[in-house]
């Protein structure tokens, strides 16, 4: 039962990752809709659990294997780092919109680190700032919807 649960969560996360890439292929504007990052943030902030480390790890390995030209493990560590950082910030400071937005900004910075390290500031800065706004709004919307449903 545990194995099935791990496989299902890993598959779900990998699918989210795939949908995110597919969605961003359509978006020609200077921002990205990072639904997988948002789900990682949600895991880090609301559902942080040591049992989720293996599904995130497996989703990262699958992403690294199939869709990345970087070495195996790079995106895996990025995904895990995003979850750890988001949980660390949220558990250290009082929850407020400013803290949420700062967490999203920091995590997006880590998430986009391969591009940030390779390219100049003018390539990614506008897209990065726009993406913070868009993804923060999505996160707040998602958070409220889920809280209301609960």
């Amino acid at each position: 039962m545990k194995v099935i649960k791990v496989i299902s969560i890993s598959t779900f996360l990998f699918l989210l990752c795939l949908i995110e890439n597919y969605l961003n292929t359509f978006i020609s504007l200077d921002f990205g809709v990072y639904i997988f990052l948002i789900s990682l943030l949600y895991i880090g902030i609301e559902l942080f659990n040591q049992n989720l480390v293996i599904p995130i790890f497996l989703a990262g390995i699958l992403y690294d294997s199939f869709f990345s030209t970087y070495y195996l493990g790079l995106y895996t560590s990025i995904f895990l780092a995003v979850v750890v950082l988001s949980n660390f910030v949220i558990s250290r400071y009082t929850r407020s919109n400013v803290i949420y937005i700062s967490t999203i900004s920091l995590c997006l910075l880590i998430y986009k680190i391969p591009i940030i390290l390779e390219f100049d500031l003018d390539y990614w800065l506008t897209g990065y700032l726009n993406s913070i706004i868009v993804n923060s709004l999505i996160y707040f919307f998602l958070n409220r919807t889920l809280i209301n449903n609960v």
């Binding site: 359509f26 030209t69 660390f88 558990s91 998430y111 100049d120």
Partner: protein, 263 residues
């Protein structure tokens, strides 16, 4: 207070262990020349089993709801007939597009000794590299040139998997390419994501740079044009040229791409 701090740190231990494991995997992958990261894709044909709906590829989002509403109102026989006709229509459109793009390509290429495999965009990954259809099933290899229907180079294959490949285009982080101009001056081409930078590697006596081409001396399959640098501002320092060209066009699902291979 002290115990809650320890608990706070302890809850991340498993995560840090897995981050460390990921780092180890990266190190092993680096030293094994990517054998590890190619292991899973070599066993699985992912794209052949994953078909993107044609309607989405054509960006016909607006017509989705109306055509669905119409279909619901029809009876089962008409539904099936309509569906079959639509499939035929899409197939027909695709074939027409292919014929058109091949016709344009034929007008723009000079080497008919090569086979030109049509390929198309699948998706863009997090590092702005494009996944395109066709991989080892078509004998594609890393470094193979990818050209558009005008016969111009748009990039090369960075990695090749069973049934798809990763295209290093002008706006991908790893793009690096060598080319020759009409006077056989060697140029190194790099990208900063928004601009393509052409830098001549040797001193030249020519006053201006024109068209740059791929060449067999760099392991390319043939000579294909890359860019006409004449309209752009050319900086000359110690008889070496640097030309910066802004990237205006991005690849889309409608882009027609070809991979030339030996017959």
């Amino acid at each position: 207070m002290q115990s809650s701090q320890i608990v706070g740190v302890r809850k991340y231990v498993v995560y840090f262990l897995f981050i460390f494991l990921s780092g180890l995997l990266s190190a092993v992958d680096y030293f094994s020349n990517k054998t590890l990261s190619n292991f899973i894709p070599a066993q699985v044909s992912l794209i052949s089993n994953f078909q993107i709906p044609d309607r989405l590829l054509q960006n016909e989002f607006s017509s989705l709801s109306s055509s669905r509403a119409d279909l619901v109102a029809e009876n089962i026989r008409l539904k099936e007939e309509l569906y079959n006709l639509r499939v035929l229509y899409v197939e027909n459109q695709e074939l027409q597009d292919n014929i058109e793009s091949y016709e344009i390509l034929i007008k723009n290429i000079s080497d008919f000794e090569l086979t030109y495999y049509a390929t198309s965009l699948i998706l863009k990954n997090s590092t702005d590299e494009y996944l395109i259809s066709g991989g080892r099933d078509y004998n594609f290899e890393p470094g193979d040139l990818v050209i558009n229907e005008m016969g111009y180079v748009v990039g090369y294959l960075g990695e090749v998997f069973n049934d798809y490949s990763i295209l290093e285009s002008f706006n991908s982080t790893n793009f690096t390419f060598r080319a020759l101009d009409e006077n056989n001056n060697i140029f190194e081409i790099n990208s900063n994501g928004k601009e393509i930078i052409f830098s001549s590697l040797e001193a030249t006596l020519n006053s201006k740079v024109g068209m740059v081409y791929s060449d067999i001396t760099f392991g390319h399959i043939d000579q294909f044009p890359i860019f006409d640098l004449e309209p752009y501002e050319q900086t000359r320092l110690n008889n070496k040229f640097t030309v910066v060209v802004p990237i205006k066009k991005m690849l889309t699902f409608q882009s027609k791409l070809f991979i030339p291979k030996n017959k």
